[in-house]
Assembly symmetry: C2
Homo-oligomer: 281 residues x 2
């Protein structure tokens, strides 16, 4: 049995769905504004990949390369301009920002209806009350993988390891919205192995290479790996891949959750476009 979730394949299927959907807009194109400050190498790679995905699905992408010395006020002014520009449907500020800029102030400034990263407190609150339109991309990608592999989440014991604002916490809320019984564990958790052994679904997002080991899980568990680490120069996740011997489903790294993040960003751009044009989402 092939129990390895093919994130690359699912991402391609969803991107093709989005592409088809955008073609149906009859010449109109959603537009994503990407703001990148300074010359962090990884950020530039991410932005290049985002632009490539935009091109594939038919989203117009405007990238603003800003000098690392830009003031917070000038950056806020740019966001205000993008907020007010009817031709811009999504705004994404690439993190991290230089230290002299308060990230929180910047993210709060983005119009929640254009917040395609789903990081604005308004969108997080809407997610919590299960009214969300724009969901954080990585957690939304995890849920989408489960659904595309026909995992019945309802009533399952789901364990989320990690409680970051951009992955662990929104994931816990999304799983709760899908009717899972959700436990959120973290560095202060005292009996983690006890919890991992009970869980039907485990999602790990802590950034520790090969953290979850086969002896910690039960036979048939479903494992989603959000980690992306380097172990002796080899890419690996937070889950020791030998867990695949016991798991009923597992995401590999790379090729699991990774390709889903940008794909869900594309989906959010389309959703934002539709909301702003009073179309059914």
């Amino acid at each position: 049995m092939n129990n390895i979730i093919n994130g690359t394949e699912i991402a391609k299927i969803i991107k093709d769905e989005i592409k088809k959907n955008i073609e149906d807009l009859q010449g109109k194109k959603p537009c994503l504004a990407v703001v990148i400050v300074g010359d962090d190498y990884a950020s530039h790679v991410y932005v290049k990949n985002k632009n490539k995905a935009c091109e594939y699905v038919g989203i117009k992408s405007d990238t603003y390369f800003l000098d690392t010395n830009i003031t917070e006020q000038d950056l806020l002014t740019l966001i205000e301009k993008l907020n007010n520009d009817d031709n811009v449907n999504g705004i994404l500020v690439q993190l991290p920002l230089p230290n002299h800029i308060n990230e929180k102030n910047i993210l709060l400034k983005i119009n929640p209806l254009k917040d395609v990263d789903g990081f604005h407190p308004y969108n997080i609150g809407m997610l919590s009350t299960n009214n969300s339109m724009l969901k954080s991309c990585t957690p939304a990608g995890c849920i989408e993988l489960l659904k595309r592999y026909n995992v019945d989440i309802k009533g399952k014991n789901a364990l989320v390891i990690g409680r970051s604002n951009i992955v662990g916490k929104p994931l816990s809320m999304m799983l709760l919205n899908e009717d899972a019984t959700v436990t959120t564990a973290h560095t202060k958790t005292k009996n983690l192995e006890y919890l991992t052994k009970q869980a039907d679904i485990i999602i790990v997002a802590i950034g520790v290479a090969n953290f979850l080991k086969p002896h910690m899980i039960k036979e048939g568990a479903i494992l989603i790996d959000v980690g992306m680490n380097r172990d002796n120069d080899k890419l690996c996740g937070d889950i020791d891949f030998s867990c695949s011997q016991k798991a009923s489903l597992i995401t590999p790294v790379p090729g699991g959750v990774g390709p889903m993040t940008i794909t869900m960003l594309m989906k959010n751009c389309l959703i934002a476009y539709k909301i702003q044009n009073n179309m059914n989402v």
Copy 2:
């Protein structure tokens, strides 16, 4: 050993702290606007109790009694007026509203900085990212009770039974912010008794009389009861009070969480006043 949490006493202590704090404002008073539509009996009792608490701590209270036939637009217009009135620090719309009014539209209209109920998605999002100023009153009251009884929440296994937007979900987030390992259970949970037996702290908010029984808990558990039900005309909570034989701490009903809700509302009014006047909170 007296293991019964005295919510009435704690509420009185906190109200006196708020009162002292307001006296220190040297003649200035926070102002709470309460909006009540129609003549629901319970709502009128609540509003009367709120007004009494306001008077006690020194908060000015303006109550708007509106006809049950008011249009949604007229109610939105009133909220807009209160949003823009610098003399109003907190706005509370008493729920439920008549069926012809969309509750969500009304709650979204309230300026988040004046949202003393903590129900606006913005405030829920801020809570999720642990940046909250205005927290939902009932869950905040539960946490406050634990703290005033010197419960060390960090690393504890906390189980929240119930996932309502106004109690269960924000409570889960608050407990996570306090470093508990948090499990949220609900009607779709399959193995509840298994979970209750493991939990160090159990908070029940489901509205089912005497639901949690002694055989379901472990010796020494800490039990917080958000329920308020009638059982043969007698007030009771969601926790069978005979659990007090096994629990290390337990809230009674009445006199446990109940008195904390309005108290935390008073606290939110003071916090809202301070935010709006650029004072340290």
